[in-house]
Symmetry: C2
Subunit: 347 residues, 2 copies
């Protein structure tokens, strides 16, 4: 177990860079002594930003210069290949060379996903590394796995997602024997598309996970399962609709509260309590989405992430590293492979 | 154009039967003179329920006895086959025999879908009849097509959904030149699973729809598109997550408002305005989900539908029938078939 956890933070990534990533890094090192942050990006820009904070432990924030910036709109594969001196590529290379334990970025999701796979590389036996954000629910949080860029998954991918997700929820989020469910269009056993029907019995047969069966989308926000397994296209729909419905409802509610004098006064009285409650339902409080199954940890935070999310993502990296999640995942995947009848393993 | 629209209402279907379906029927005939309702189900039960309403036009509500009831948990195919004297089968047979224009039920979704296809039958050329609920958005409503029971659709199915959905939105909901979008995991042209990638150029080539490209799930509640095309598994996830996130947020908000004395007073002041605003965001205000592409109209309302939803569904049927949507759909599908190069047409 490393005493110091070294987290690279992409200082150039996201809508609020460099302000928020730098702020999040400063807050993180101030709050926890075991954290060392490496900010990658344009040195002058980062230095100027850091100069705003007079009292932080300067020995635990380091800058590694990277002259280039990958824009969100750039085709990811090209960007990773060509911009060798970008904050993302430089940061991921540090993880690859074990100069850092983890990498956090609010930059281009595509570039982070591609870079994570190409530069850091998959753990032995992992068929497809899933992107797994935490969703807020009425009970706490659930891990939605997979929301990555590779769609049309195979049943064996989903089985690995279930295993990796269980390890993450147990050791990073602290939920004992996490409940695993597969997203389905009905609760009955005969429901499902071809992929779900094929995957269901495989999950049922896994002895190393706590599989509780199908979950309908309606039940996801209720927190009935801790690990929500699905193919990435469906995961993407779930993640984005969660945000969309939430945002639309908040807009409606705000509009309703501003309707007349009576409601405006009511709004003033109700606001503090409401804000407090809805904070729990805000994904940014829970850090970023880990890309699991790699040889190092890569965490993707929202493009619009603020310092609070960056800080939480850094703490997530600390927990992940201390708990040696990658080792646990590699062992579990290898174990499963050994128990399986021989068959093709790669994508 | 028929002067009187005859709508069969399943008096035994749903959690609130017979109370709410009967109430909805009474309200509908009271509000609109052109509507004639036929209530199917156990005669005595319905008569007792109707006796509660002293002043409605009794000549426009008729009872057709059906001794059996299909339960929600019954396997649909079996239920339709065996319970020939159920309210659903009796009602659908009336539509088939042109004794009624439309059928509305809050009962078993599976039985209504199966019965609609098997008893009423598909329109000529329609490959798969989609179930298409209206989703509330910040701009009004959008049609989500398909949310039916048949998953793993083919590209040609999605193209037909787009055409049928456009006709519905234009002539029933009254949106001129409705914007059609396909649900995707990104806005970029190269995004999508195999189905979406294959369907996208087909939709782009359709001259009879206003195709605007991909829509990410986040944008659905914003109302950026009028017709949201997707495969039924994804549609099911969208529909149910919409409900789930909404319900979870309302629970959170209510909890927040009851937090302390200050917020409780605020809640009292803000409640009426809030209720009014959130009404627009309530799916039940918009009636039920039509099963399109059949030889008659079948509308599925929520299992928990109240009279207001039944009433709106009946009005939907009136509009649908007066606008001769089925004729329009049949013509459009036939037109498209004629323009296509010859190929296999059936499921």
């Amino acid at each position: 177990m490393a005493e110091i956890v070294r987290v690279v933070v992409d200082a150039m990534g996201g809508d609020n860079a460099p302000v928020e990533p730098v702020k999040g890094a400063v807050e993180a090192v101030k709050e926890k002594k075991e954290i060392h942050v490496i900010l990658t990006g344009q040195k002058e820009v980062i230095e100027k930003e850091l100069a705003k904070y007079p009292d932080y432990p300067t020995d635990r924030i380091e800058i590694v210069h990277a002259s280039e910036v990958i824009e969100t709109a750039e085709p990811p594969v090209n960007a990773i290949r060509k911009k060798k001196d970008s904050s993302i590529v430089v940061g991921l290379n540090m993880v690859k060379k074990k100069e850092a334990d983890a990498f956090v970025s609010s930059g281009s999701t595509g570039a982070v996903l591609v870079g994570g796979q190409v530069i850091v590389g998959r753990s032995k036996g992992v068929e497809r590394p899933p992107l797994a954000p935490l969703l807020p629910t009425l009970e706490g949080v659930s891990l939605l796995i997979d929301c990555g860029a590779n769609v049309d998954a195979r049943p064996s991918h989903l089985v690995q997602f279930a295993k990796m997700g269980s390890i993450y929820m147990e050791h990073v989020v602290g939920i004992k024997n996490p409940k695993v469910a597969i997203v389905n269009n009905g609760a009955e056993e005969e429901k499902g598309n071809a992929l779900v029907k094929e995957t269901f019995p495989l999950l049922k047969a896994c002895k190393d996970i706590n599989f509780i069966g199908s979950i309908e989308a309606r039940e996801i926000p209720m927190g009935y399962a801790d690990v929500i397994v699905c193919e990435a296209f469906v995961g993407n729909v779930i993640l984005k609709l969660y945000e969309g419905v939430g945002a639309a409802m908040m807009k409606k509610i705000k509009g309703g509260m501003m309707k007349n004098l009576r409601s405006k006064i009511g709004a003033l009285l109700v606001k503090p309590a409401l804000k407090e409650t809805l904070k729990d339902f805000d994904a940014s409080e829970h850090g970023g989405a880990p890309l699991l199954g790699l040889k190092g940890l890569v965490v993707k935070t929202h493009g619009s992430a603020k310092a609070v999310e960056i800080r939480h993502a850094i703490f997530q990296c600390e927990q992940f590293t201390k708990q040696e999640i990658n080792v646990k995942i590699a062992e579990r995947i290898l174990e499963s492979k050994n128990q399986e009848p021989a068959k093709e393993q790669e994508d």
